[in-house]
């Protein structure tokens, strides 16, 4: 792999990692606050998994750019300015109510499942190995959210109202999943990663059917798309300040 391609693939992996890190951070905000004990445990586990997956992607990126694998994830997470992150606004949005967080998790994980299935056949063997690891773990996420989305969508008038409101708000942001990630075009050409737009078509059909079966009205797709990973939401600065403040108080601290 030449240097330009290594740079492209590392940019792609950092964007993937940023999505998982920020979603994991939002999930972690449910710890101690979920509506029932089982869901408290579930969201804490989802958060742990997503942040653990982010760490694996950052480590793979470190290997590509020749950085110190042990330090690189912390450097990226705690010492990068907010403007350097490349996550989707979909994962930045505040956790909202429980319906909102559950639906976002479903929409994200349903896409990730297809993305990981593509990454398993990557020509970059270390990436294919990590993807295989994560793919099996994500089966448990999807099983969990697929159990809750129809339950809430068809549960009570209140749960339905909240799920529909969550879907209406999330849908334009979820369209961002189909936009190419940084470095994707070069990496796709070298058969290192799958193409987001083709994954998006599969995802779109799948989730539209599932959401309809869950009693929800899927909004039209072309209304508004929020896909630019270099542009962050109004909520992101506060999230990063919260995430980084302790580490930045004493960057040399030994944990």
């Amino acid at each position: 792999m030449n240097d330009a391609l290594k740079q492209a693939l590392s940019a792609y992996l950092i964007a993937l990692a940023d999505d998982e890190l920020i979603l994991g951070h939002r999930d972690s905000e449910w710890t101690g606050h979920a509506p029932i004990l089982e869901e408290d445990i579930a969201f804490a586990n989802l958060a742990l998994d997503e942040i653990g997956h982010a760490r694996l992607w950052y480590e793979l990126a470190a290997d590509l750019v020749g950085a110190d694998k042990a330090r690189y994830p912390d450097q990226q997470v705690y010492f990068r300015p907010a403007s350097g992150f490349r996550c989707l606004q979909l994962v930045e949005l505040p956790k909202g109510d429980w319906a909102f967080s559950m639906l976002r998790q479903y929409l994200f994980d349903a896409f990730e499942q297809h993305c990981l299935a593509g990454l398993v056949t990557s020509q970059h063997k270390p990436l294919a190995d990590v993807a295989a690891r994560i793919l099996n773990e994500e089966l448990y996420h999807l099983r969990h959210t697929r159990a809750w989305v129809p339950r809430l969508g068809q549960g009570t008038a209140e749960s339905h109202r909240r799920m529909q409101a969550a879907l209406d708000e999330l849908w334009p942001y979820a369209q961002g999943l189909g936009a190419p990630l940084p470095g994707e075009l070069e990496s796709l050409e070298a058969r290192l990663v799958p193409g987001s737009s083709s994954l998006f078509d599969i995802w779109s059909r799948e989730v539209t059917t599932f959401l309809s079966e869950s009693g929800l009205q899927v909004p039209p797709a072309d209304r508004n798309v929020i896909a630019d990973r270099a542009v962050h939401s109004e909520y992101f600065g506060a999230l990063i300040a919260d995430l980084q403040q302790v580490a930045q108080l004493d960057p040399e601290a030994q944990w």
Binding site: I41, D49, E50, L56, K125, A132, R133, L139
Partner: protein
């Protein structure tokens, strides 16, 4: 620095590692869970390769410390613990003996899936206490990343299952 003449044998090291309990499931050890993958000498340093069960397993740093401490008791001061995810850990690596120990500790062992994880997730899970398969999944997540929560509808007890992976 270990004098090569007094180096413990590979067999002695494996035996010592088989005394290192899993930090979160102390009834089983790191060798029978399939977490310790490989041992080799790199100059004066012993390298122990481990594969954590889950990518985000928060216990793997504790495992590294426990491994270094136990190997240190054999007189080896330089121990490198390398984390490897290739091939990814699978519950198929858990030995039959460890499965019995898990069950005795009240934790349902993971079923054998031979690569077909989705199918095995649909199969009934036997209660580790009374053996009934009349059980219900309460939560795909549990007290650690590698467990999930069930209730037995016969003996009415909640229990956890080690996730098939």
């Amino acid at each position: 620095m270990v004098d090569v003449r007094v180096r413990p044998s590979v067999g002695e090291i494996w035996a010592a590692l088989a005394e290192v309990p899993d930090p979160e499931m102390p009834s089983v050890n790191l060798v029978e869970l399939g977490i310790v993958r490989d041992l080799d000498w790199v100059g004066p340093s012993l390298r122990v390769t481990i594969t954590p069960t889950f990518a985000a397993c928060p216990a793997y740093e504790v495992m590294g410390d426990d491994i270094r401490r136990r190997i240190g008791q054999l007189g080896v001061s330089q121990v490198e613990v390398l984390v490897r995810h290739d091939p990814p850990w699978t519950s198929e690596w858990i030995t039959e003996e460890a499965r019995l120990k898990l069950k005795a500790a009240g934790l349902a062992p993971p079923p054998h899936h031979r690569g077909n994880l989705i199918q095995v997730l649909l199969d009934p899970v036997a209660c580790p206490r009374c053996g009934s398969t009349n059980t219900s999944l309460r939560n795909s997540f549990g007290t650690t990343p590698c467990r999930m929560i069930y209730t037995c509808n016969d003996c009415k007890e909640p229990f956890e299952q080690f996730k098939p992976l």
